[in-house]
Each structure stands twice: as structure tokens, then as C-alpha cells.
């Protein structure tokens, strides 16, 4: 059909046959389908696709919804009602209580303590680990010294070793260095265990930059740090953002290192949250618990929604080897 409608598409045939054929083709074109293919908006296929995605989305959103509505209800309403129902009477009491009054052990100053601890842990840990890992990646990608690849391979394998295997040796190392239980010690831990993934990220990025740029800078007489700060860094802002996202969410969400390597006064938010919610004493205040949970999830969620595609790029970069 399609061919007949447009005889010009085959010049040989058009030349060989007469105008009559052209006429016939036009007549046929007038009766056959023509123009844009009609599109049915509600085809069975579309209903299936959008229907499935919609149901799955509801399932994924449900926990967030439950957290929000529960945290805005009073305890009487929770005891009587349905956990999925929106609050009849909105109260911010649970949020205030979770932030400023909830008890962990003897301290009753709420999650705010954990929040500030997490900030104090996350900011320096992210900065230090990213700086060190980016220099590693740069040295590996551009300077290619002897043995570099061997160390890097060990590092990547290290990413798969269960932390539990290295936990105790790390405790010993930190204790010997006098850092066990301190903030500095935890920064070291996050730098060490974050190193494989972030180094990989930077190595792959710097390898993807044209090597001739590095060569040109060497001919121009720039040294190791000169090239890093003057040539590489200004070109790498996106990848630094990606690394920031990975590290901040990762460190913020950490629980294991927080319990093993710090003392109670330095517990990060996740550890404190778990202690508040899963403490056995007293009456369970579900609304306060959910407010606390939501508060803890707020920082990574904010980063997630603000960063959008970069977050996706970050986890994809971390997951797919180069």
C-alpha cells in the first residue's frame, strides 16, 4: 500500500511505467488509509501499563502517607481509627515531642540531639571522604603509577566484604590511634568504608575526560596539584555533586558504624531514633514515633527530591562498574 501511494519513491519504476499507473495509484490512495495514524487514547495496552504503574505507585507511597498522617494524629484517634485515614484533628504535638522531648535512656531532650550529632558527623565525613577519594581517582586515572591498579582492585573487592569482617580490626586500629569513640574516629571510618565506591566514581569520571587535556596541562608545566585544582576540579562539579549526594545520604542513613564506633553522647540520628521507638519502657506513642521516623528520613528525602536526576546518576554510577 504505502509504496503504491508514492510512486516517486522508486524512480526506475516510475520511469518505466506510464502516467496511467500513477493515476491508478492516486485513485487507490484516495480510498486507502491516509495521513496520521489514528491513536486510541484508551487502548488495552495503555490501560494495563498505566494501571499497573498506578497501583505500584500507591503501594510505594503508602508508607510515606501512613507516616505523615499518623504523626499528625493524637493518640486517642490512633487507637480508634484506621492508620490509612487522614487525621480528623491535625496536631503538631507529636512533632514537637519527637524533636524536643522524646527520651532515650536518661536523656529526654528528643531527637534534636541526634540530629545535630548527625550533622556533625555527616558534614566533615562527606567532605573528607570525597576529597580523599577524588584525589585517589585522579591519581589512578591520570598518573597511573606502578601498583595503583592492584591497590584499586583490592579496594573494589573491599566494597563487597561484609563490614562485620572488618569491624573489630577497625576498632583495634582506632583504639591504638586513640580515636575510638570520637568524632574523628567516625570520620575516619566513613572515609575508609566510603572510599571504594567514591574512588570508583571519580576514577571512571576522570578516565572519561579526554586524556589529551591532561597531556596538554603537563606540557604547560602544571604539576600534580596544579592539574587537579586548576584543570580537573573546575570540570568536575557535576561528579562532585553526585558524590556529595551518595555520601551525605549514605552517612546520614548509617546505623552500624554509629553504634559501633561512637559513644551514646555522639549517637547519630538513626541510632537514637531506633532507641526511642524500640525502647520497651512506657506506653508506645505511635504518633511521636512516626514523627521521629519522618524527621530522620527528612534530610535524605529532601536531598533526593531536590537532586532528581543527579541522584539517579549517582546510584547508577556507583552500581555499574567502569
Amino acid at each position: 500500500m504505502g509504496k503504491l501511494r508514492d510512486p516517486d519513491c522508486n524512480p526506475l519504476q516510475a520511469r518505466a511505467e506510464t502516467v496511467l499507473t500513477d493515476y491508478a495509484a492516486r485513485a487507490q490512495a484516495a480510498s486507502g488509509p491516509r495521513g496520521r495514524k489514528p491513536r486510541r487514547r484508551l487502548s488495552g495496552r495503555n490501560i494495563m501499563i498505566y494501571g499497573t504503574l498506578f497501583v505500584v505507585s500507591v503501594y510505594y507511597l503508602l508508607p510515606l502517607w501512613v507516616m505523615v498522617v499518623t504523626s499528625l494524629k493524637g493518640m486517642p484517634e490512633i487507637r480508634l481509627g484506621n492508620i490509612f485515614a487522614p487525621p480528623v484533628e491535625i496536631t503538631f504535638e507529636p512533632w514537637v515531642k519527637a524533636w524536643a522531648e522524646a527520651c532515650t535512656g536518661l536523656n529526654c531532650d528528643g531527637l534534636s540531639r541526634g540530629f545535630w550529632n548527625s550533622v556533625r558527623i555527616t558534614v566533615p565525613s562527606a567532605l573528607v571522604s570525597i576529597f580523599i577519594a577524588s584525589v585517589n581517582g585522579y591519581a589512578l586515572a591520570n598518573w597511573r603509577f606502578r601498583g595503583g591498579e592492584a591497590f584499586f582492585t583490592i579496594l573494589i573487592f573491599g566494597a563487597f566484604i561484609p563490614y562485620q569482617v572488618m569491624l573489630y580490626p577497625m576498632v583495634i586500629l582506632l583504639r591504638e590511634a586513640g580515636l575510638y569513640g570520637s568524632l574523628t574516629g567516625l570520620i575516619v571510618v566513613h572515609t575508609v568504608f566510603g572510599m571504594p565506591i567514591v574512588t570508583l566514581l571519580f576514577r571512571n569520571y576522570f578516565t572519561s575526560l579526554p586524556e589529551e587535556l591532561f597531556k596538554a596541562a603537563r606540557v604547560d608545566g602544571a604539576g600534580f596539584w596544579g592539574i587537579y585544582f586548576r584543570v580537573m576540579l573546575p570540570m568536575s562539579l557535576p561528579i562532585f555533586t553526585v558524590a556529595m549526594i551518595i555520601q551525605i545520604t549514605g552517612i546520614w542513613n548509617d546505623f552500624l558504624f554509629g553504634t559501633v564506633f561512637t559513644r551514646p553522647n555522639l549517637y547519630p540520628m538513626t541510632v537514637q531514633l531506633n532507641n526511642i521507638v524500640n525502647s520497651v519502657q512506657g506506653v508506645k506513642e505511635y504518633n511521636v514515633n512516626m514523627a521521629a521516623t519522618l524527621l530522620t528520613g527528612l534530610v535524605p528525602l529532601a536531598i533526593y527530591f531536590a537532586s532528581g536526576k543527579l541522584f539517579v546518576r549517582g546510584i547508577a554510577a556507583g552500581a555499574v562498574k567502569g
Binding site: E212, K215, A217, R218, V219, G221, P234
Partner: protein
Amino acid sequence: MQPSIAIRDLTLAFGAVEVLHDLNLEVGQGEFLVLLGSSGCGKSTLLNCIAGLLDITDGQIFIQGKNVTWEEPSRRGIGMVFQSYALYPQMTVEGNLSFGLKNAGLPRAEIAARVARAARILQIEPLLKRKPAALSGGQRQRVAIGRALVRDVDVFLFDEPLSNLDAKLRADLRVEIKQLHQQLENTMIYVTHDQVEAMTLADRIAIMKGGSIMQLGSPKEIYNRPANRYVAEFIGSPTMNMIEGNLDMQITPSFSAEGMSVPLQTYAFGSDAASGPAVFGIRPEHVEAGEGAEAMPVRLDAAVDLVEPLGSDTLVRARAGDRNLWARMPGQPDLRPRQPLRLGFDPARAHLFRLSDDTRL
């Protein structure tokens, strides 16, 4: 006069793989040398060794009489232009030009003067405040050349500088590079895989293959007297016609292959020519077809097999017996497949190679 660049017994190996073997090369003052070869032949590797961007395994490199074998790239007195331009994207054109000079700690006034001079020579003065992203391909390459120019050095290294440009721009910039060389009179080493660039630019061409230099000579020498079969087939388009057969030096030298015999009295043999299996080569542009063939010492009957009209002239693949021969015919002859065609050539313009080692006879 001492050579501008001298390379002695240079060897480069990555692990067990030898990329350059025992290479020797001298480049004269102000010479334009082109390293030509297909990809993977080691030409760019050699250039990187000269620049100091690759650590060599063995041998020595001298630039202006100074042993720079272990010297940092920036202290070798070279400027380098890359295929991908390699401009620093976050710096302006001015910043790109002055980066090396700042690293060398030159006084500000001196830097400004040199940048101004390079910009004037390359006619990029209006672009100085722009970022590379805002430049066209040709402008970027000019800035890249400028970056070598400001260094005020005796040796320029070009690593396939025109490969990323389209055909028209490539031809324009080729002319500009040639003019620049005539103006500056400094030594230039130019790596390319494009034989037209090599033929048009070079004082001497070094044809490389598998990490060795196959032939080093002027473009004319390389074209007229290729030292071996590889060089003969590499230079010239379409490729030289090659016929395998036997060379007989007994009474009068002649070459014979199935269905043909070519007398070779007029051929300029080398000193070590001897009878034996050989390859006979003749360039398509030296094969006359049609009427012109009758005037040639050697003639044969063939039939048109394939025609490639190029406009200015026409390439014909003709079938003679069971072998194909390419001929280049002037103008636009009217030829149809299977039509009979007379071919002819002058054995004086032919090339003979020994079959066993491919060297010229």
C-alpha cells in the same frame, strides 16, 4: 649543524608488548617531518615519547642537543597540538594561552606580549575573552596552535591536529599550518594517517608500521621510489596495482606472470636485483586506457568492470584475464560495464618488489 631532534635506539614496551623497536631518527633544524601510518603503527606513541608524556623503556632523546630523555614535558622546549584540541574548558582563550606561561612563572607583561603576538599571528584577537565552548572547530584548533606558539619554542609537535575537522576546514587549516611553518621556520613533527596531509606538508615523511620506520624520505622519493611493498601500497589512491609473478634477469630483464610478459630494459633496477619470484606494481595514474594506451610500450586487452566517476577524472576497474587493474582516466569518458578497453603502461614507471621480503628491486 646539529639536528633539532635526535632519537637514539628508542624502545618502548608495555609489559611484554613492544610498541616501538630500536628506533633511530634525526630531524633537522626547521624541518617539517610527518610521521605517517595507519592506526596502531606507533606514530602517536613516538610523538608522546618525544614530548615526554610516555616514559620510554630504553634509548635516548635529544632536543636541540640537550639530552631530555628523563626531562619533564614542560622543560623540553616543545609545544604540542592535540587532535581533540584539549583546550581547558573553564578558561577563556586568553587563559588557555597563558596557562603554561603562568606555570613557568613568567612576568605578567611578558605573558601579555606573547599572547598578543600569538593572537595576531593566528588572527584570533577577537576571540580572546571567549570560552572554548563558544568557538567553532577551526577556531579551537587555532587556539590550540596558539598555545604551542606562545611557548616560544623551537619544536612543535602536532598529534593528528586536523582529524576532528570536516574536509573543507581541514584543507584550509592545512594551508595555514604550512604558511605558519614558512613564517616561523621552526622544527615541526606532525603525526597523521592522511597521506594527502603528509604529501602536501612534509619536507620528509617517515612511514611507520608496527613500531618501526619503513621508509624515511621526501614526499617525491616516497611516491616515486617506495622502498617496499607496504609503502607502495600505502601511498597513492586508489592503491597501486600489484601482480605477482617471476622476474627473469638472464638475458634482457623481464617480468612474467600468467598471461603477460613485460620487458624491463627501461626499469631502473637497484644494485641487488636478481631473478626470482617478484611483485610487479604500477600506479593507476600510470595506466593509460583507451586511445592513450596505444602509445605505451606495454599494452593489453581488457574489459570495463566498474566505473567510478570523480568529476575531474574517472577511475576504471578493468578485467584482464582473471585479474583486476585500476586505471585513472582524465575527464569523463563514456564507459559501460563489459565494454572492451585497451590498457597500456610504461615499465619505466613500474615498481618491482621481491616476493620473499617485499623490498624494492
